[in-house]
């Protein structure tokens, strides 16, 4: 503990990040550049999210990390232990007990409250990136609200697949102004982005961008009038807890084509099992 400043980053860096966060909250959906630091983990492992979390944490916080919905995968375990060691904060796997939740690719199934902050790890913050490679041009498009190109992507999806095949990182429009990449969450989670009680912060370390959604922000998924947005999930109940309303992972269990569907949110699933719900594959 003595080797590090609280939560690893020095106080000036945290101030700089907090400024970017405040600016992001003031302009929902706008990508605020910030001086991203080298973190003791590779890019792509959540360096942006970690920096945002470091700037937010206080000694009284309870911290939770989610990786693809799970609390016990490599990314989640390593980031959780990183802050246990460098900040000494309490950690938890229960969504309701956490005050700061860092997440990769999922929004928890349980509704969040006004006392919580959700921090997303973002690989590529620019929703227009794969359509327009020039950063100078995408910035101009954001500032002039030229978002026709985003629909060209959806158009291509429909013309090629017959429906909008984009199933994650589905672009949204924030408060009728900025088009935003919600990070690679499944589009099943998109409806939860809007009107959420918790603060949502997005950190992209390699790309050096922070953006934010203040509580109760209007977030609309882009679509066509005749091909409306649909929040899709696998059409099964959870094999372990029998939930029908949660996002499911497909798990291959043998090489005979056997498979099961389980909740991707492990906390939600274990809580339901503890409450006596039992799926068809539960032991």
């Amino acid at each position: 503990m003595t080797e590090y400043n609280f939560a690893y980053l020095d106080e000036q860096t945290k101030r700089m990040i907090r400024r970017a966060i405040l600016k992001g909250l003031a302009i929902p959906g706008y990508q605020v550049p910030f001086a991203s630091r080298e973190m003791p983990m590779p890019y792509g492992w959540g360096t942006g999210g970690v920096q945002v979390s470091a700037a937010l944490l206080t000694p009284d916080d309870t911290f939770k990390v989610i990786d693809q919905g799970a609390d016990d995968t490599t990314n989640a375990v390593s980031i959780r232990s990183f802050f246990e060691r460098t900040a000494g904060v309490a950690t938890t796997t229960a969504t309701s007990e956490a005050s700061v939740i860092q997440t990769r690719h999922r929004i928890p199934e349980d509704a969040l409250t006004e006392n919580q902050i959700l921090v997303y790890q973002v690989p590529i913050p620019e929703p227009l990136r794969f359509l327009e490679p020039r950063e100078s041009e995408t910035r101009k498009m954001h500032s002039l609200e030229e978002y026709g190109l985003m629909h060209v992507k959806l158009y291509e999806d429909i013309s090629r697949h017959g429906h909008i095949a984009t199933s994650y990182a589905y672009p949204v429009k924030v408060e009728g102004r900025y088009v935003m990449d919600p990070s690679p969450i499944p589009k099943f989670d998109n409806p939860k982005l809007g009107n959420m009680a918790a603060i949502q912060l997005f950190g992209a370390g390699r790309e050096q961008r922070i953006y934010a959604l203040p509580p109760y922000t209007q977030v609309v998924s882009l679509d066509f009038e005749d091909h409306p947005f649909e929040a899709s999930k696998a059409d099964h109940p959870c094999g372990l807890c029998d939930a029908t309303d949660s996002y499911l992972d497909e798990v291959i269990i043998d090489d005979q084509g056997g498979r099961m569907f389980v909740c991707s949110d492990t906390d939600y699933c274990t809580a339901r099992q503890a409450a006596g719900h039992k799926g068809k594959d539960a032991a």
Binding site: L131, K140, L144, E146, G148, L149, H151, V152, Y155, E156, I158, S159, R160, D223, F224, E225, D226, H227
Partner: protein, 256 residues
């Protein structure tokens, strides 16, 4: 009648070098203006100044906007200028690759401008895109193919469809037939002439091919070293050139 586009004293310098100097003319609705001259005479610089791609050092480019009447496009905000360039203006590049999105299907290319001005009904967009492909003589079954699979002439026609789908009033063309073989050129010119007449378009065509302006342009400007040396009705300039350079230009064309 009020001119659609009024160019007044437009100049552009590249350091000590002159791009174009003190060019003025009026373009009236439904009129096609040709700009000819040798390479480096400032034709493309002038065109880019008018289309808002580069800012002129001096002069005004006044466009008769639908909403607010004549406005100087040089001093208007970038947002307004870009709005004009995807609604009332069209720009046909010499190389179709510069004007198309090569990774996007033909339908998506044509639909982009529709979506940019707020069209949000997939069926309608696709219907209009297919309709436009047929108008530029591209088979409707190719609507989902990428332009990379198209021939040069088809790419150029696709670029024209993509530009005209929002019903612009002014089309800028930079050597639209450059790099195409003569039979394809002839077909493209025929198509362009038909579209210009049917839609009542005004157009400014930059080219060094006198045959193109003979067929398409009502009026002609001859440029040399950044200045307009002669201007007038196309047939008049081509049949009875007054300036020494115009005479050279006309006499350089091989008569077959």
């Amino acid at each position: 009648m009020r001119p659609l586009l009024s160019v007044q004293g437009v100049s552009k310098r590249y350091g000590a070098h002159i791009g174009c100097a003190d060019v003025s003319f009026d373009l009236y609705p439904g009129e096609v203006m040709g700009i000819v001259g040798e390479s480096g005479s400032g034709k493309s610089t002038l065109l880019n100044c008018m289309a808002g791609h580069i800012a002129p050092d001096a002069g005004k480019v006044i466009f008769d906007t639908r909403a607010d009447g004549p406005k100087d496009t040089v001093t208007m905000s970038e947002a307004q200028r870009r709005m004009l360039s995807r609604t009332d203006w069209a720009f046909v590049h010499q190389h179709a690759r510069d004007g198309l999105r090569m990774g996007v299907s033909a339908g998506g290319n044509v639909g982009e401008r529709l979506m940019a001005v707020g069209e949000r009904h997939y069926g309608d967009i696709r219907g209009k895109a297919t309709d436009w492909l047929e108008r530029v003589e591209i088979d409707a079954t190719r609507v989902d193919d990428r332009p990379t699979t198209f021939s040069g002439g088809m790419q150029q026609r696709l670029q024209i469809a993509r530009n005209l789908v929002t019903g612009p009033r002014l089309v800028f063309m930079d050597e639209p037939t450059g790099g195409l073989d003569v039979s394809v050129q002839a077909r493209l010119l025929d198509l362009l002439r038909g579209l210009v007449r049917d839609m009542g378009l005004s157009a400014i065509i930059v080219t060094h091919d006198l045959a193109v302006v003979r067929l398409l342009a009502d009026r002609l400007m001859v440029m040399k070293s950044g200045r307009v040396v002669e201007a007038g009705l196309t047939d008049q300039v081509l049949d009875d050139p007054q300036h020494a350079y115009s005479q050279l230009l006309v006499s350089s064309v091989l008569q077959v």
